[in-house]
Point group: C2
Chain length 403, copies 2
DNA sequence: TAGAGTATCTTTAGTAGTAAACAAAGGAGT
DNA sequence: ACTCCTTTGTTTACTACTAAAGATACTCTA
């Protein structure tokens, strides 16, 4: 038992995370993927095998040379918790290190309540349960807002009406686990980068259509959060002059026009529904109502022009459309596609737009990826909490070894 | 004389580049700035001092402890060449490793000529001169267009009417020097990051107002080039529906409205000038002509709304306005400021806008920074040519040592 | 069936880097 | 003057990693 090496070992963590995320691989595969020498992989995998964290699987049929010995993760008990905070409910998931959701839970919640933080902590600890947390690497939290400061502690959110809420320290002291908090769209973008369509792309854009319009930006392989953590607010791109007033105070924001509220105002103005919800409009459009479809087509047209501006600015390889609204995408699409393509610079006109089927717990899964993605983060920018996660990953090794 | 260590030594290079860019510093300063251990700095600076590349300067007055020994660059002969390519002329500069321009030259040039590449190479080699190039780290090239492929070899530019021109290999074989090519606005952004207003900022935006409108984007401390190298094309953000036709084929692009051509069209339509150039309109505005000023005010208003969208999307800490057009910024500003601030999300409303005085050779200086910035590039993404530059930096050490 | 070829893994010898203890050179309080 | 404090720079002992050469285990070809 080595007494030394209490330090974080990013490479051991990276090996485990890679095997978890991408499935079994040979030492040579890992060396190439992680950009390490084969020699080092021999040594590191020897340790991990001895510690019982890795298994040597069957030989792979030779591809012209010595056949590869596949290595697989022995412990599938390593995972993370993902928490999505919405104004009126919480979604919790437990995911394995391969990104697969193993458990889900939803709970009512009032973000504006005086005891909201207390209630959130209780619900979370209840979900995690008593007993042994040694397999959990940490908790990832996604919320509609931004995180202040390097300590990633104080949270701001207009949608939740939160101002400098000490969410991080509250969860941390209650659970003893590392906690990473981020904007929910950024978390979703990270999930796409690790396990979704974005995998292997250095530059892509995730557009979410929900109650508002948001974007997760990945450039140079990294999430763009901006200086104050407010990057991705494409809902507030000005699109029409003297347009309807937006929550943000400006006039003519994209979101004011085609956010859920904007769509309803338009549907009501056109006399398609009286009262009712957006689901009613969607149902009408699905049923073939041309007027209802027209609402989405017009919205798609505006969205297309706005996203084209973003694509011209950022030059992503792919645009992923996601969110509750994506389920009615075929109505949006009629307006989106022509106006989007027409406004792109010629070289980008073929850029791929991928629409992903939407599951509700996807947000929480994305939040969990904040934790699962940390070992991949070569630059180690995730700060102190990220350091703690990497440390935990190697600690798991020690407890397994001693057991 | 060590026979070994033919490998690139990024840290030795980083020490030299840091001293060049930021001026003399103590070993302890360097250790903090480069995030290396004091122990390593003792060793590396010992080598560099022995090789005659560094000088030990006077002691710094103590700040409560042992006084620091300042280290300074012994050789100020290390530098790079910067080349800016415009449709009708070339600008060349020689800059020292501290970013200061030591020599300038401009030459007429026709980018559409059949022998343009040959002529470009001749002018460049003429500027560099015969004889010893050992002090030159490399050549940086900035052009209005994008670079294809990882080899950074083939160049595309609609403005120059170039299609897959093998600029890199041509310059490389003619001079024997490493050549780095990039979009001119990206190069300018890099210069700002290293020696300008952007220094110390991880996220900022450089907006250029020239014949067109462009942007250099820095996010997470790195230049955003996008997947095809076409990031920053904010000139083609759609701003008005059914607007004037743009060169790019779309209608209502920002550039079509407020690029040089757009401004002239507007000035002509308003009857301010008949024929003439933009300089005439600027002169009238400078002289107090309200109609002429109105052209700029209207343009500033449009620019403000568009840039606000970009700032909402990317959340930069600072916006730098630059370029030929920046000299008439006080006329733009009247329209820009109110519309810009009004369209920002509340949290970003105080974002700083810095307008930089404009010198013509600034573009070429930015191009040179592609070379000078390479040693700083911790991730080493600049590819093979960047590797060659870092190698050259240590080679200089060897030749100085043997001399 | 005996190479030739090729890809995987291992060993060896060496470099780059760090932490920690120590030495050096001053300032500030008593 | 003497001690304590602070910061700088150096030495020592160690870890992490790599390159290069070799060992291993297969396929393919003649």
């Amino acid at each position: 038992m080595e007494m030394a090496a209490m330090r974080t070992d990013a490479n051991r963590a990276a090996i485990l995370a890679h095997l978890g995320a991408r499935g079994p691989a040979s030492r040579a595969d890992l060396a190439r993927a992680l950009d390490l020498s084969p020699a080092l992989l021999t040594k590191l995998t020897r340790d991990l095998l001895a510690d019982g964290l890795l298994n040597e699987l069957e030989h792979q049929p030779s591809r012209g040379g010595r056949p590869a010995r596949q290595l697989g993760l022995a412990s599938n008990a390593i995972g993370a918790i993902g928490l999505k905070i919405a104004p009126d409910h919480l979604t919790l998931v437990e995911v394995g290190i391969d990104g697969v959701v193993t458990r889900t839970s939803t709970a009512g919640f009032d973000a504006t309540d005086r005891l909201a933080l207390r209630s959130l902590v209780d619900i979370t600890t209840g979900f995690i349960g008593e007993g042994d947390h040694s397999q959990l690497l940490g908790i990832g939290v996604g919320l509609p807002g931004s995180v202040l400061g390097q300590s990633e502690d104080l949270v701001d959110s207009t949608q939740l009406q939160w101002n400098q809420v000490p969410l991080g320290s509250a969860l941390r002291s209650a659970t003893g686990l590392p906690v990473l908090i981020d904007n929910n769209v950024s978390a979703l973008a990270l999930a796409e980068a690790l396990y979704g369509v974005g995998r292997g792309h250095e530059d892509f854009l995730v557009v979410t259509i929900g109650s508002g319009i948001g974007a997760g930006i990945v450039a140079n392989g990294a999430i763009v959060r901006g200086h104050t953590g407010n990057a991705g607010e494409i809902g507030h791109i000005p699109v029409v002059e003297n347009g309807p007033l937006c929550q943000c105070g400006a006039a003519g924001c994209l979101e004011a026009l085609i956010g859920q509220a904007g769509l309803m105002r338009e549907a009501t103005a056109r006399g398609i529904v009286i009262g009712g919800t957006l689901a009613d409009v969607t149902a009408l459009a699905d049923g073939g109502d041309h007027d209802a479809q027209g609402v989405f087509t017009a919205a798609g047209k505006l969205l297309g022009r706005a996203i084209a501006g973003v694509v011209n600015t950022l030059d992503p390889q792919i645009v992923v459309v996601l969110g509750e609204g994506a389920s009615s995408w075929r109505h949006w699409s009629r307006g989106f596609e022509p106006s989007f393509r027409a406004a792109l610079i010629p070289r980008k006109r073929g850029v791929e737009v991928a629409v992903e089927a939407w599951q509700d717990d996807r947000w929480a899964q994305g939040a969990a990826c904040l934790v699962l993605g940390t070992p991949f983060d070569a630059t180690g920018v995730s700060g102190e909490q990220g350091e703690r996660i990497r440390t935990r990953l190697t600690e798991v090794r020690d407890t397994e070894a001693s057991a």
